[in-house]
């Protein structure tokens, strides 16, 4: 298909003109990141999927306001982050009941490698203990490849704050994963 090779900006332009297939390709490209970013905020897979979906649909509705001169992905993720934060506010009570360090958000499927499943659970547990902004910053930087400046713009904080949040998040994760490594040895 001709569209598959097009850049995000070009697809966004086509989508803004009403090309639903072009937006479908953008969803294919960035849907997974949107789900991870939403999950880093909400810590519940179903809520994260709802928020990511809300964000992606909201972005479709707002495409006329997208500036093609700017990168598409941070613009899209800002909408997803806002959708996730809205949902977090609406479900604040439910969320505090659901997440605790002793109760990982999901259980690994039986066929998953035990060590990998353990790592996955412990990492989710460690993430759950971090403040929301630290979770978001470390996910955006290390998992999704956003720059400090992009993250600062996205979370509405100075770049120095982003670097500091990244430092604290990584230290916490390092401690948790270091403890796990000792357990496994």
């Amino acid at each position: 298909m001709r569209n598959r090779d097009a850049g995000d900006g070009e697809l966004a332009r086509q989508a803004a003109a009403g090309d639903q297939a072009a937006y479908g390709l953008l969803v294919d490209r960035h849907g997974e990141t949107a789900r991870r970013v939403a999950l880093s905020i909400l810590r519940d897979e179903h809520d994260a999927d709802d928020a990511a979906q809300d964000g992606l649909v909201a972005a479709w509705r707002s495409l006329e306001r997208f500036d093609p001169a700017r990168p598409f992905r941070p613009w899209l993720m800002r909408i997803v982050v806002n959708a996730a934060r809205d949902l977090a506010r609406r479900r604040a009570v439910r969320q505090t009941e659901m997440v605790s360090p002793e109760a990982p958000a999901t259980r690994a499927s039986p066929e998953e490698d035990t060590e990998r499943a353990l790592l996955r659970d412990r990492l989710r547990t460690a993430l759950a203990t971090l403040p929301e902004r630290q979770r978001l910053v470390v996910t955006l930087f290390d998992a999704e490849g956003f720059s400090h400046a992009e993250i600062a713009d996205l979370v509405g904080a100075p770049e120095g704050t982003v670097r500091s949040e990244l430092f604290h998040a990584r230290r916490a994760l390092r401690e948790e994963l270091g403890a796990l490594r000792e357990e496994l040895q």
């Binding site: 639903q20 479908g24 849907g31 999950l39 979906q53 992606l56 790592l119 990492l123 993430l127 290390d142």
Partner: protein, 112 residues
């Protein structure tokens, strides 16, 4: 993983991979299909919104023009009847002023 250094502002690929693994949800294809369906629905709503936005002022304008036309017609009809003095007996009878005697008589004697 041993390379996680909180002072390092370079990306940590090992941590990044672990985070992606921990945060990636199941059934990505299903998720994309749901989003595409929602977008299709949103597009339909948007089309209806556009139509509604277009229709609302136009219907209002048409109604206003019709009302204005009706008012003009009524005013013209009323002023014409006043101008040529051909008010009907019924009009004269319901008007505030007392009709002249001959008009009352004409009303009674006129063939029906």
């Amino acid at each position: 993983m041993s390379g996680i250094n909180p002072f390092d502002h370079e990306r940590d690929p090992a941590l990044g991979a672990m985070l992606r693994d921990a945060l990636t949800g199941a059934d990505q294809a299903g998720f994309v299909a749901r989003v595409r369906a929602s977008v299709a629905l949103a597009r339909q709503e948007r089309t209806f919104d556009v139509l509604a936005r277009w229709l609302r002022p136009n219907v209002s304008a048409a109604a206003a023009i019709m009302m204005l036309g009706a008012a003009l017609w009524w005013y013209q009809a009323a002023s014409t009847s006043r101008a040529d003095g051909t008010a009907t007996v019924a009009e004269l009878l319901v008007s505030d002023s007392v009709p002249a005697r001959e008009i009352l008589l004409a009303g009674l004697l006129e063939p029906r």
